[in-house]
Symmetry: C2
Subunit: 357 residues, 2 copies
C-alpha cells in the first residue's frame, strides 16, 4: 500500500532555516504542528530555543501536551463545546486560545485555571477574526474579559491566509504589508496592554523579509512544504520533505497512462490547476537515499478513492513495470500527512503521528 516517506534531512534543514529566519529578525518562533501532527517531529524543534507550539484543535493540543509540550496555542476560535477540554488541559499546561467575539466570554467564567488569549485579527483573508479596523469590538472584548481573573489578554494573532490566493509577488507583498500595517496600528492603539503580535503563514514567513512590529511567527507547512508552496514561490521542489510512494498497478498504452495505488484517501483531493488541468501530485525520481525532481515533469492527473492516474510519455511508459514504486510530491502536505498513519524515513525508520495506533 502507499507509504508516506519523509526526507528527514530536508525537514531538519527546513526547520533550521525557519528558525534562523526568526532569530535573524528578532522574532520568537512558535511553530504550528498541524502539518506534521507528530510528537517525534515536534521534538526536533527542541534543539532550538522553541518553548511553545501552535495547534489547530484540542485533539492536537492533548496529543502534544502528552508529548511534553507545556505552552500550546490553539489557533482556532474558542467555542463552548470545548470548555471541558480546555478546563482539563489548562490544569497541566499553559494554554492560549483565540477569541474573535464577546459571545464566547461568558463560558470562560467557568475556568478554574489561568488561560491566555489572543484576539484573532482579519486583515483581509475573510475566514475568521475581527476586522483589523474594528477597534470598538476589540475594546468591547477587552473590557468584558477584564472582569475574568483567569483570562489574560496576550495580544493579536493573524493568519493572512489570502497569501495563498495571491497571483503574483506584487500581490503577495501588498497582502503582507497591509497585515503589518494593520497589526502595527493595533499594537499602538492598544499599547497600554503591551500586546504581542503573532503572525505568519508559511508563504509570508518564507518569502518576506520585513517583519516590522511582529513579535512571534507561527508557520506550520514549512516543515514539509509542498507543490502549493512551490507554486507560490515559498520553496523549491528540493525543499519538499514528504513524498508518497505508490506502486504501479496498471499500464494503458492507448491512452499513455499508468495506474498507481494512491488515491484520495492517501493524497487528499486537493489539486492545483496546470495548463487547464487538475493535478494531484508530481512524480520525482528515487535516487540513492534521496529523491530528485525528474528530468521531465510527470503529473498525477486523476484521483479516485484508491486509484491515481499518471500521464506518461513513451519513454516513461516503457521504463515502468507493474509493481514498480513511484514517488510523488503532494499538492498539500498538511492534508496528505493527515491521511497517513505514520511516516517512513528513507533509511526505513518509522515515525509516528497522531493517527498511529
Amino acid at each position: 500500500m502507499p507509504t508516506l516517506y519523509l526526507h528527514k534531512e530536508t525537514c531538519l534543514s527546513n526547520i533550521q532555516n525557519m528558525y534562523n529566519k526568526a532569530r535573524d529578525h528578532g522574532l520568537s518562533f512558535r511553530p504550528h504542528c498541524k502539518t506534521h501532527q507528530s510528537a517525534e517531529i515536534s521534538s526536533w524543534f527542541r534543539d532550538y530555543p522553541v518553548e511553545g507550539i501552535t495547534v489547530s484543535s484540542f485533539r492536537m493540543a492533548r496529543y502534544f501536551a502528552s508529548a511534553g509540550w507545556k505552552d500550546i496555542l490553539i489557533a482556532f476560535p474558542f467555542h463552548p463545546g470545548e470548555l471541558d477540554e480546555l478546563k482539563n488541559l489548562a490544569d497541566s499546561c499553559k494554554l492560549s486560545i483565540l477569541l474573535d467575539t464577546p459571545a464566547a466570554l461568558p463560558f470562560l467564567n467557568q475556568l478554574s485555571h489561568p488561560v491566555d488569549f489572543y484576539l484573532d485579527i482579519d486583515t483581509g483573508y475573510g475566514r475568521t477574526g475581527i476586522r483589523s479596523g474594528n477597534a470598538d469590538l476589540i475594546q468591547q472584548i477587552l473590557k468584558k474579559s477584564d472582569t475574568n481573573p483567569r483570562l489574560t489578554f496576550k495580544g493579536f494573532y493573524c493568519h493572512a491566509g489570502h497569501s495563498y490566493k495571491a497571483s503574483d509577488r506584487k500581490e503577495q507583498d501588498s497582502i503582507h504589508l497591509k497585515a503589518l500595517h494593520d497589526l502595527g496600528t493595533l499594537k499602538e492603539q492598544f499599547a497600554e496592554y503591551g500586546p504581542r503580535v503573532l503572525f505568519g503563514d508559511t508563504p509570508n514567513c518564507s518569502i518576506q523579509e520585513n517583519f516590522s512590529g511582529i513579535d512571534e511567527i507561527t508557520p506550520g507547512n514549512f516543515v514539509f512544504y509542498d507543490l502549493v508552496q512551490h507554486s507560490l514561490g515559498a520553496c523549491s521542489p528540493e525543499d519538499i520533505a514528504v513524498a508518497l510512494e505508490c506502486p504501479v498497478a496498471g499500464k494503458y498504452h492507448h491512452r499513455m497512462q499508468i495506474l498507481v495505488h494512491g488515491g484520495g484517501v492517501h493524497f487528499s483531493k486537493e489539486f492545483l490547476v496546470k495548463d487547464g488541468h487538475s493535478i494531484y501530485g508530481r512524480m520525482v525520481d528515487s535516487s540513492a537515499g534521496s529523491w530528485l525532481p525528474g528530468k521531465a515533469d510527470y503529473w498525477l492527473n486523476g484521483l479516485s478513492q484508491e486509484h491515481g492516474i499518471l500521464d506518461a510519455d513513451e519513454d516513461l511508459f516503457h521504463r515502468l513495470n507493474i509493481g514498480d514504486k513511484l514517488l510523488f510530491l503532494p499538492v498539500h502536505s498538511c492534508l496528505t500527512a493527515n491521511l497517513a498513519r505514520e511516516y517512513r524515513t528513507l533509511d526505513g525508520q518509522r515515525i509516528e503521528n497522531i493517527h498511529s495506533s
Copy 2:
C-alpha cells in the same frame, strides 16, 4: 469536535432497497464496503442472503476477513507488492482479485492457496481495465493463467464510473447500455468459460432497470449516498444517511458568514459546483431523532484544514449562536467516512470503523 452521525434507519432502508432491487432482477449482491469501512455496518447485510463482499484494498480485506467475511473481492488491479498479503489472506478466506494485464501473472505462480480472478473491463471510463473490444488481450491472459492451477478465472468485472460524469439522464442511459452491450458480447465470446459478469456503481444500480446479462452487482456508496449521488438523481436528500455535526465557532455579519469547526480533515476537499461556486456540504435541520433538509438551502462554501465557512442570510445568522451544533450532508460520503474514526447513531450508539483504535 466534529462528529459523523449515521441515520441508521435510513442506512438500513438503503440496504433493503438495494437488496430488493438485486433480488427483483435476479442478481447476486456483493456490496462494496469501501464507503462505510465498518465491520458492524457490514454485518447488517447478513440478514439478507449476502455471502460475499467487495473491498478496494488489502487493508480492508484483512479488516473484513477478521470480522468473519469468507468471500472477498479486492476490486483493485492486483500488483506484486501485494503478493505476500494475498498469500496470507488466501489461507483463511476465499479471495478474488482483479487482473487487467498478463504482466501480473508470473507473480501469481507463487500462490500456495486457490485464488479466483475477474478480468477488469473498461467500457469507457478510462481508469482501469482491458478495453471491452480487446478480446485478444483477454484471450492472452486466459491462456497464460490457465497454466496456474491455483488461479481460476471467474468472469468479468466492470466499474462504469463515467456514470458520475454524465451530464443528463440520456447520457447516463447511454453509458449504461454500452456497458451492458459490451459485457454481454464478452460473455458470449468467452461462453466456454461460463463467465459471471459483475457490474454496478451506485448511480447505475440506483437509476437503471435493465441489467440484462449481469449476474452480480457490487455498488458501495448507496449505504449512505451523498450530495454527488443526489446531483446525479441516484437518491433524494432524505436517503442520505450520514451527516457531519459541526459546532458554530464564529459569526461575521459584514460578510453574512458563519464559521464552523469542520474542515478538509473532516469532510475531505471533494466539492460540487453550484451556481459557479464550489460547495462542500449542505446544512440540514436537526429534528427529534432525525434530520430534515431545511426550508432554505444553506451551503458550506469554503473549507480549510479545520475551518468551514457557511453562507447565511439574516434569518439564519440571527438564529445561530456560538456553540450551536449544525448538521451537514457531505459531498462525497466515502471520503468523509474515511476521515472519521467512528460513527454515532442518533440515539448515541458508537459504531466502529476500520480507523477506530
